[in-house]
Symmetry: D2
Subunit: 360 residues, 4 copies
Amino acid sequence: MERIGVLTGGGDCPGINAVIRAVAKTAINDYGWEIIGIEDGYLGLIEKRFRRLTYDDVSGILTLGGTILGTSNKTNPFAQPMKIKKRIVFRDFSKHCIENFKKMHLDCLVCIGGDGTLRIAYKFFEKGLPIIGIPKTIDNDVWGTDLTFGFDSAVLTATEAIDKIHTTAQSHHRVMIVEVMGRYAGWLALCSGVAGGGDIILIPEIPFEIEKICARVKERNKKGKRFSIVVVAEGAHPRGGRMVVQRVVKDSPDPLRLGGIGNLLAEEIENRTGIECRVTVLGHLLRGGSPSAFDRILATRFGEYAVKLIKEKDFGEMVALQGREINSISLKEAVSQIKKVPLNHQLLKAALSLGTSLGI
Amino acid sequence: MERIGVLTGGGDCPGINAVIRAVAKTAINDYGWEIIGIEDGYLGLIEKRFRRLTYDDVSGILTLGGTILGTSNKTNPFAQPMKIKKRIVFRDFSKHCIENFKKMHLDCLVCIGGDGTLRIAYKFFEKGLPIIGIPKTIDNDVWGTDLTFGFDSAVLTATEAIDKIHTTAQSHHRVMIVEVMGRYAGWLALCSGVAGGGDIILIPEIPFEIEKICARVKERNKKGKRFSIVVVAEGAHPRGGRMVVQRVVKDSPDPLRLGGIGNLLAEEIENRTGIECRVTVLGHLLRGGSPSAFDRILATRFGEYAVKLIKEKDFGEMVALQGREINSISLKEAVSQIKKVPLNHQLLKAALSLGTSLGI
Amino acid sequence: MERIGVLTGGGDCPGINAVIRAVAKTAINDYGWEIIGIEDGYLGLIEKRFRRLTYDDVSGILTLGGTILGTSNKTNPFAQPMKIKKRIVFRDFSKHCIENFKKMHLDCLVCIGGDGTLRIAYKFFEKGLPIIGIPKTIDNDVWGTDLTFGFDSAVLTATEAIDKIHTTAQSHHRVMIVEVMGRYAGWLALCSGVAGGGDIILIPEIPFEIEKICARVKERNKKGKRFSIVVVAEGAHPRGGRMVVQRVVKDSPDPLRLGGIGNLLAEEIENRTGIECRVTVLGHLLRGGSPSAFDRILATRFGEYAVKLIKEKDFGEMVALQGREINSISLKEAVSQIKKVPLNHQLLKAALSLGTSLGI
Amino acid sequence: MERIGVLTGGGDCPGINAVIRAVAKTAINDYGWEIIGIEDGYLGLIEKRFRRLTYDDVSGILTLGGTILGTSNKTNPFAQPMKIKKRIVFRDFSKHCIENFKKMHLDCLVCIGGDGTLRIAYKFFEKGLPIIGIPKTIDNDVWGTDLTFGFDSAVLTATEAIDKIHTTAQSHHRVMIVEVMGRYAGWLALCSGVAGGGDIILIPEIPFEIEKICARVKERNKKGKRFSIVVVAEGAHPRGGRMVVQRVVKDSPDPLRLGGIGNLLAEEIENRTGIECRVTVLGHLLRGGSPSAFDRILATRFGEYAVKLIKEKDFGEMVALQGREINSISLKEAVSQIKKVPLNHQLLKAALSLGTSLGI
């Protein structure tokens, strides 16, 4: 009998529990293996916090958002930040983790996470641990898989939000800006922008020109459409400019947390066109909630396939959707780059044909 | 045959179209009257922009968010801001509006809006126009009616958002702060906070003490519940403090739009407890979308009753929900004050009994 | 310290868990009482199956549909059907239940249920048990309370379904019939019918004339509206006719389960008008799922108020919504009749004014 | 300038309007072509009913269910059923249609529909009309495309319904049977069954054995799980048996419409296990409503690609999703067979590994 460790790392994402359930049920049903849930991601590996997951533990969790195992998205066992005498120092806990892996009598470790989590997983594999990776992110930016679970749910939530905002835009003659997640890749903005009928879609891969955006807004106004919907990825930035992220001004009278690209765009568009702008930052709404049917199915297939890989001792692999099939690619390949929206992607072309501006 | 003018003023709100439909269908079906839609709220009254609404025009709009008539939420015919030689001056267009009312051959005017819109409606009534008011706001702060339409939809949307955020909070051991609308009244924060199972609910009527909030967060941590959900109305403020609203710092390197109370709370709680906080500002999400079944029914009843008041020439009244009945109260009374959450409200008591902190 | 028994009876209904949570949290927080959950409704009382509910047991159940205690909707302790030698006989277990109540050391019993459950609760009160009733039904037909929890959720679900069916009706030129629950009272059909913009609404309180229904369908066709939406309560019936319920024909070649009023209407309308009809029976969809925000709040207030009644030893009462207030009325009064839609209800009048046919 | 005819045939399906919009906007934006909407599917082609679709006509329809063009799902121009002297005869209107095509000055015809519609489209192509097909069905059974639009929306709706029914099953210890569409292919039952965590999934491709189903129900009972969820496609049937469809018994006392496979299963399982069963037939709920984000994107890509095919005069083709790409295959190939669930499909294997019974 094998003893399978499972951990979940990084930000929240709909479908994590569905994966845990699929791994555990498949391992138990097909092989009678034991499942050990490691708590709070790699932090639990460092601190040797874990619990056995029974069949009952994973029953009824298919529809739940979040992760029953908890997660930690600032832990890096290879360079863990620690405060020592008021200074931040980085310590390498990787050997310690490998010892804990052995102390827990694990035969392999399934790491469910995004780019960061998988990168660490790959390092452990290089150090000799039998690792399987499962790609998880609402950003859909993991290389080697057509889609990550969580993405469809996030697109659904963002699209519903854009639908709601649409009616207000029409009634009030405004530019409504919807900022979605996506620091390096624009999948979420592109897909929810197309699905929500956004008039302007801005993604990190295509640096925008503010003049082009304002020109489109004014052009629509002239045609009698006195509103525009802008869907913008948090990592979108002007041509020649840099990415704008949330910043905190500590020295201001009040401790202030400043807006991201959405707010900056609103300033600019208002100043240049005189048309009122309103910003909605979807933020953590996109990460929570029950996974969509699509994500539940994808997560289930991923989990089932991960057990197959373990059975075949095919370690160092990440499960992946490729066309209609679930396959795997090496973790090495998977973490070699981030999957951005290619500039020749059919959906970009379709968006343009339908009259959407990409800010260029 | 009567000729009924209808206008919609103020911010967006689910159910406006349902009211317009109910007024128009009832007037046409029951009496064969004519319905004139005035465009963009009082601005259309100033500019004499209007169109006839046929039965077909109002068919199929029951489920639509927004308003088919458009609105303007900065227009005040009694003190309209205008830019003259770079200075803002205020002009009184009320006589002009009354003339337009006559030129349009209207027999009465139905004003659908919140506190601001109804206040202006009342002034026109005092000047002799036959006016009927219909209370509309997601804030539920109009005096004299148990509920306004739009409120139930906004509570639903806010509650769904809190549900989503809940799962993330549990997985990540965080304080999740959800900021909802409500500058003067806390109905939306209170109701969505209770419905979403918020651990701390902060409303404008009850100035909070930041120490009490942090104490609750820490107390929950000690009990092993490493997350807390804070639902805060935008108008909530500390005891002795003042209301914090969105501000713009024009002189900073970038033109910055600063966060509201949600962001300030996050700063404070993080600094005082060391626990990570995340803020979600629901903002315009709460105003849009298809109205809930409850709001569709309330809006329909309001619209039908407004026509009854017109038939009885009972002008200067606002339709109102009182218990199970639709009635009316005088506009004079309705605009005399804002309906805040009374400190002895049963729901506050219930929230406390269920273990929710009100920040005091 | 008191020891409070709680049981849930009858059909499923969104919000039951929210009530259980509110009773338990209030009792524990405010008074430190003990909560005993009785399993599977009155069946658990007969069989003395129960468990203690801790604070943790009722945490996180606010949003869950169903009941964590289970229910039994065919149990009647005063006349329990039993199969003895192939015959059904009815046995009185009430004394046995009262003994079990004592053996469980309960100080009172909170009975959460609809008409049937409350009727039994009242009988136990008459026999001397300290009982509190909480009205629960998606039908909204419990006398003495403006609304029962579960009703708003069911109206929402039914309205969403009608919204979906609307688009199909428009595309296909059909009569779409939506059958909702409501054997004796038409609240659900009336409210979802108005909220969904139904063209014809049929409720048990108003026996319909099939000719009038067909006339309306044809009249709409003539006006170019080639579709009609009929919302019908399962208990609706023709004038002079009787209620049609699901029947099983045991002797037919296949064991057949026959349709209810929705299917019969479809036959009749098709035969008389030649227009294709399609039926959707919402059935159990209306009973399940997460409660609406409104129902969560109502359930929370009911639960909190029930504990207040216990504290005041005000037994034999049922909590009730009256206008904006939670109050109570005697169980005796509450079970004296069913709350039907009064024929002079404002919403019926409004529906007619908006052009809806009531089949008469 | 080209003049493009568009028609929509067959049953309702979420996303049809999104396709019409994509075809029209792309054709207008990219080439300045004219779009002619033919009303009510092939019936409009027979009766020469059509209207020009302007850019404004297709703005704002992305989110709408149904089809703005109407449809007719019993029309076959090659064998149109007609009642002549009380007898049904079939007439060939195809030549007439081809003449109308010319009279309308169309340069090509885009046929949006499922298997039946595409089959007719192919026949017209064989007769010389320049045809493009776009696959549309909630059943996902069109050959040659990985997915049809409408399918994802239907899976979402079915999964939400199963989620709702789950809670009731748990509370009441019942077998809940959910019947979904799918006469020949089980995609919808399989995907919503896996996404909804169904315990037993029955599809037409895998004839079931009633004993195996009952055994699973009883086995779950023994393990303390006193409920089971059965998701069944309408075309599922017992091994050796035949498909059961809705039937009408005309000669019975009342004109009766009898239940389908869901009801028959309920009878059988109740009789054999003694456990109460409840059936929900989702039927037309699955066809209506706003399309999911996924379907809006797929429909948009299909529509844009169809215009590309027209530009390249690549007629006789059907657009298709293949892996991540939109491509096309010949209509001849597309209508050569129905796409059933292959017995070696990964998702079947995954379902089994997770403990789901397929009734065998």
